[in-house]
């Protein structure tokens, strides 16, 4: 028996007949590992995108509330009501994004993005009765812009962390 053949003899047992089975088991383990890794990645990505959709839905609520307030004069007799509704939604977004940013996907300049959205929505709201149509349009433009920037920041952060392969 040659030296190479002796390599496959362990404690007097010839392993050569078992080699195909051993390789099969090894391939199954590797395959399972790859599938598990991909499934976990896919699940995290799906969860992240579901989270982003949830944030987009709340931002859409803010946009609708703002359109009604700035263009359709809803709540104009009580700007404080608009402020409370918008501020409570912004607070929910900040809380969700903060947790998400801490645990899953880091969103850059989050404090700045939230502050700019809150400012666009509520810094001039209490004086709406004194504003011209052009000033109201300008304000709504800032709100839409702040919403878009926030939405894009969340979407970019998720795409970077979980790129489509």
């Amino acid at each position: 028996m040659g030296t190479e053949d002796q390599l496959f003899i362990v404690m007097g047992v010839d392993l050569i007949p078992f080699l195909p089975s051993m390789f099969s088991i090894l391939f199954i383990i590797i395959g399972w590992g790859v599938i598990y890794h991909n499934a976990k990645k896919l699940s995290s990505r799906t969860e992240a995108h579901a989270f982003a959709n949830n944030i987009v839905a709340i931002l859409k609520d803010i946009e609708i509330l703002s359109e009604e307030f700035w263009f359709k004069s809803v709540y104009n007799s009580s700007p404080v009501s608009y402020e409370m509704l918008v501020i409570s939604k912004i607070k929910i977004i900040r809380k969700k994004l903060n947790d998400f940013s801490d645990k899953r996907v880091k969103i850059n300049n989050l404090d700045d993005l939230i502050f700019k959205l809150r400012k666009a929505c509520t810094s001039q709201s209490s004086t709406i009765s004194t504003l011209t149509q052009a000033e109201k349009r300008s304000n709504m433009n800032q709100i839409i812009n702040s919403i878009s920037v926030l939405e894009l920041s969340v979407s970019d952060a998720i795409s970077k962390k979980y790129p489509h392969t």
């Binding site: 939230i114 502050f115 810094s123 004086t127």
Partner: protein, 108 residues
Amino acid sequence: MNFNLAKEFSENPFGRYRSDGPNSGEQFREDFLKNLLEKCKKNNDTLHIYIDDVPIGISSSFLSESFGGLVTKNYFSADELLNSLLTIESEDKSYITEIYSYIREASV
């Protein structure tokens, strides 16, 4: 000196001017903030304002009028407020960024 906005002023601080309703930024600045800061300045102290107990959140009109107004009304300079006289305590850093930005903007 410590001051809890929700407990010592209102749980619903909203609006810019007194005409906007109760608990406005103007009311907070004129009836509370100015006097507290004057006391702190006299005693070489710092006013720490804790804002997290406000349940819903605080509107920018309130923040801008109360804090930025301290500078536009020439009660205090932005430098003395930002350097030693006033600190804002909050887990939500966006409020701290916002309040300090109104103080800075008001000095320009």
